[in-house]
């Protein structure tokens, strides 16, 4: 096998080059998505009758979006609060990616986490906060972990693909939540299905009007996941199984156990995302509970290239767009749904990133693929 690949070791790129290789795709993708969004705004102007055409409307819209996200202390707090659950969810997806697993079931783990937090939270609502908060939080984490454990276990014992089983568990989670909230958890006599308030178990607000402790916990969680992956033997095993399961088995790692553990831990982070929304924002649960956090998390993790620390800026981008969308609608008359369009376009460009890499002359053969196999799988998955 005389190598057709050059055999001399390639020179190690410098810090700037390495940073560029990591950040080029997310940055380019974001800019491209903004351009596509601008084009959509312009086209929609032509299509909507009675609107006077203005070339500058996209700029007005983005200005308002930016202002709504960062324009005032209140806006910034709103961005941070919106980002916190995305950080937890993004970490859940990123962590599983590192083990070569595509946890598309963050939405289900998110719902279970919220459910666990509300059940225990209502139960301990009158306890002192020092006990109530940790108990309810841990319950949410545990419920998410259990929901992540199931697909991990199924994969280890029967080879069931986690993409299929986590999607199915998403549906079960939705149905379970609806059944519990309109049944045993419902406030007796209430006209609509809603649970009691979690009372003292609610996360304290530490910044502005809505800045709950999630905005502190989120960066801590990112640092923890980074530390776990980079500094511990567990993280080494997770990365080894993700990069080359055969070599991991050769090296004596128990790959099945690691798969189960990874999914459970990923589920725990997903559960924490749900806990964050429930204890930090809503404090009660309705049968319609359920944001798109679980699905947005997948986009966050992809944009971050599965790097735990890069999940923070990626989540801030998405959280900021959510925070600013309202002002954009008021000031520029652009529906908040444009934010969904932008997210979807970002996701599409990320899926096409091999093409972008070639266009940008980034060496595709270099280093650890940030999202092993997972990026290839995205097109197969009905997100």
């Amino acid at each position: 096998m005389s190598a057709s690949t050059p055999s001399a070791p390639r020179p190690q790129p410098g810090l700037v080059a390495r940073a560029w290789a990591r950040l080029a795709i997310p940055l380019v993708v974001t800019v491209l998505a903004a351009l596509v969004g601008a084009a959509i705004i312009l086209v929609s102007e032509l299509l909507v009758p009675g609107v006077e055409f203005s070339w500058t409307l996209p700029i007005t819209a983005y200005q308002a979006l930016l202002e709504g996200a960062l324009g005032s202390p209140e806006a910034i707090v709103s961005t941070l609060a919106n980002s916190a659950p995305l950080v937890f969810g993004g970490l859940a997806v990123a962590f599983a990616f590192k083990a070569g697993l595509f946890n598309i079931g963050v939405q289900g783990q998110f719902l279970l986490g919220a459910l666990g937090a509300v059940i225990v939270g209502v139960w301990v609502a009158d306890w002192p906060p020092i006990l109530a908060i940790p108990l309810a939080t841990l319950a949410g984490i545990a419920a998410g972990a259990a929901w992540g454990f199931i697909p991990g276990f199924l994969k280890a014992v029967s080879g069931a693909h986690e993409v299929v089983s986590t999607i199915m568990l998403n549906y079960i989670a939705v149905a379970l939540l609806a059944a519990l909230v309109s049944g045993p958890l419902k406030v007796p006599g209430s006209p609509s299905p809603v649970t009691f308030d979690v009372g003292n178990a609610a996360w304290p607000v530490i910044l502005g009007r809505i800045g709950h402790i999630g905005i502190i916990l989120a960066p801590l969680a990112a640092a923890f996941v980074w530390w776990l992956l980079r500094r511990t033997t567990w993280g080494f095993q997770v990365r080894a199984v993700g990069a080359n399961p055969d070599a991991a088995r050769y090296a004596g790692m128990r790959t099945k156990r690691i798969t189960i553990g990874t999914m459970a831990f990923s589920g725990a982070l997903g559960g924490l995302a749900g806990t964050c929304v429930l204890l930090g924002v809503t404090h009660t649960m309705t049968s319609g509970f359920g944001t798109t956090v679980g699905f947005d998390s997948i986009a966050v993790a992809l944009l971050a290239g599965s790097e735990p620390l890069l999940v923070l800026p990626a989540a801030l981008l998405f959280g900021g767009m959510r925070a600013g969308a309202g002002l954009m609608q008021i000031k520029a008359g652009i529906p908040v749904e444009l934010v969904d369009v932008l997210q979807a376009v970002i996701l599409l460009f990320l899926v096409a990133s091999p093409v972008l890499r070639r266009l940008l002359h980034l060496n595709t053969a270099r280093n650890e693929p940030a999202t092993p196999r997972a990026t290839n799988m995205v097109p197969d998955v009905p997100v």
Binding site: S4, P9, R231, T233, A240, N244, A247, Y250, G252, N363
Partner: protein, 524 residues
């Protein structure tokens, strides 16, 4: 063999000043190559020397940055493989491009269908031509035989027939003997000589020196993308060629000294194992490896060697039999259990099992010990200890890498394997299991690894060596077991073993086979 008459004859193929650069590497640096009609021209060089790149340029798979290609004295541009084939250049790849479920004729016709009319294939005409070509070059073959049922040697002949069917005048063979037994190699050489005698030009790529000396009319040696010498077999020898190839004096056969075997370390009895699809591949193997001896297993690839080794080291669950290590039953232990019992294992496929290519060299050096002191304290990895020992291993095992932090995938094959060897050899061992330890490596790396193996043996380690490279088994082994059809059919003394006798055993399993075993095999 016909000596090409007259140097006045225009070369059938001339490559002039071919330069091909890849980012950071010049794969070919102004290479000149002349191949005359009727000549067998060997291209010799280490891995990564540029042989394959040069041939990819010739085959139109890579565009040269500089230089030109001349056929019969006329400059040509080769746009791609189909263009190359149209110009009479054909390549026989190391890994055959055949469809096993199709017949010989169907394989040959693939992409070259002779139509009797616009709808149907003209099978009759195709059969006639295939039979005729076979007769002309001395290997008659049944055009209706399924390719999957043919031996590797015959499959290679189908590849050659395919080229001849397309009127190839220049035939490039990329390491054609890598997968053949010595007998098959002789047979294919006879075919090549016949082809040359008929005026075909043959480019023979290899890094096996004795083969090149035997078959070639001229030898061009390439090192680091440059031609470093051209020789005729009569005016050179293996040592000279090795030195040209590596750039320094090389000791081709390791000085194995004498072994001093002690008590048996590994005892395998009645071991059976199946492959991933559940086919029984190892059918009752008994063997014993003593401390301080190298037990070599010779055999044509696919006779159960891989499964045997995997069953011994814990990568594969045996279906029957037992493995004992220093008297302790270790049958069915996990890979880590075996590792901790003092067994090291160098797997055949270093890319799939031996290394994580996207991890740094330092992490790969602790791949089997990352969880132990001093590389971990509790669950905390100890980066300093990992880096310190990596630097030391890199120095002692001569792993050429810019630093311990580059990804293992960026190293050359030889250096990757040295990293595996460093990791697996560099500790106190009872048993060292080597599966194809030097596959695909250049002579310099082979020399280094062989020395390490001998050193391990002399330190009292029991060594089990599996290699498809018969010469390697003969060179290193104190005793040789020949594996055929999932069984060890003979055990012979290493230093006195006769290569042809072993080759015959590998190919046939030996005349005096245990009838019961043969019946069992037929039933299985």
């Amino acid at each position: 063999m016909t000596e090409p008459t007259g140097t006045t004859l225009a070369p059938a193929l001339e490559m002039r000043g071919i330069t091909k650069r890849y980012p950071g590497v010049v794969a070919c640096d102004g290479i000149n190559l002349q191949v005359r009609p009727g000549e067998i021209h060997a291209l010799l060089g280490e891995n990564g020397a540029g042989k394959t790149t040069l041939m990819n340029v010739l085959y139109g798979l890579a565009a040269p940055d500089e230089g030109e290609i001349l056929l019969d004295g006329r400059s040509v541009q080769i746009a791609g493989p189909s263009d190359a084939i149209a110009r009479g250049i054909n390549m026989v790849h190391q890994h055959f491009m055949l469809v096993p479920v199709l017949t010989v004729a169907e394989n040959i016709l693939l992409g070259e269908e002779t139509m009797a009319n616009p709808v149907f294939l003209d099978r009759k005409e195709a059969h006639r031509r295939i039979a005729e070509l076979g007769r002309r070059f001395g290997f008659e073959i049944d055009p209706d035989a399924k390719v999957g049922s043919l031996s590797v040697g015959w499959q290679q002949r189908v590849e050659i027939l395919k080229a001849l069917y397309r009127n190839a005048r220049i035939l490039v063979l990329d390491e054609p003997t890598a997968v053949l037994t010595p007998q098959e190699t002789e047979e294919i050489f006879a075919v090549l000589r016949r082809l040359a005698a008929e005026g075909h030009s043959i480019v023979f790529i290899s890094h096996k020196l004795y083969e090149v000396l035997e078959i070639a009319d001229r030898i061009t040696v390439i090192r680091r993308g440059r031609v470093v010498g051209e020789r005729r077999p009569a005016e050179t020898n293996e040592d000279d060629l090795a030195e040209l190839m590596v750039g320094r004096e090389v000791q081709l056969t390791v000085d194995r000294g004498t072994s001093h075997p002690a008590a048996p370390t590994l005892h395998v009895s009645g071991l059976a194992a199946s492959d991933d699809r559940g086919h029984p591949m190892v059918k009752g193997v008994d063997l014993e490896v003593r401390a301080g001896e190298i037990f070599g297993i010779a055999g044509v690839a696919g006779n159960g060697q891989d499964e045997l080794v995997e069953a011994i080291v814990g990568m594969r669950r045996p279906t029957a039999g037992s493995v004992t290590l220093d008297g302790v039953d270790v049958t069915g232990r996990s890979p880590r259990g075996m590792n901790e019992a003092g067994v090291s294992y160098v797997p055949a496929d270093r890319h799939r099992f031996g290394l994580i290519l996207s991890f740094p060299v330092s992490d790969n050096l602790v791949l089997t010990s990352y969880y132990r002191s001093p590389y971990a304290r509790g669950i905390l990895r100890q980066r300093e200890a990992i880096d310190r020992d990596a630097a030391s291993a890199i120095a002692r095992y001569d792993i050429r890498t810019p630093s311990a932090n580059v990804d293992a995938g960026t190293l050359s094959g030889g250096n990757q394997q040295k990293a595996v060897v460093a990791r697996e050899f560099d500790r106190d061992l009872k048993l060292l299991v080597l599966d194809q330890p030097t596959r695909g490596l250049d002579v310099g790396s082979i020399e280094f690894i062989h020395r390490q193996v001998i050193a391990k043996r002399d330190a009292g380690t029991a060594v089990l060596l599996v290699s498809a490279e018969l010469d390697e088994v003969l060179e290193l082994s104190d005793r040789i077991g020949v594996m055929y059809g999932g069984q060890i059919v003979a055990v012979i003394d290493g230093p006195t073993a006769d290569k042809n006798a072993v080759g015959l055993l590998m190919a046939t399993g030996g005349a005096e086979r245990d009838p019961a075993a043969a019946a069992e095999e037929a039933a299985g």
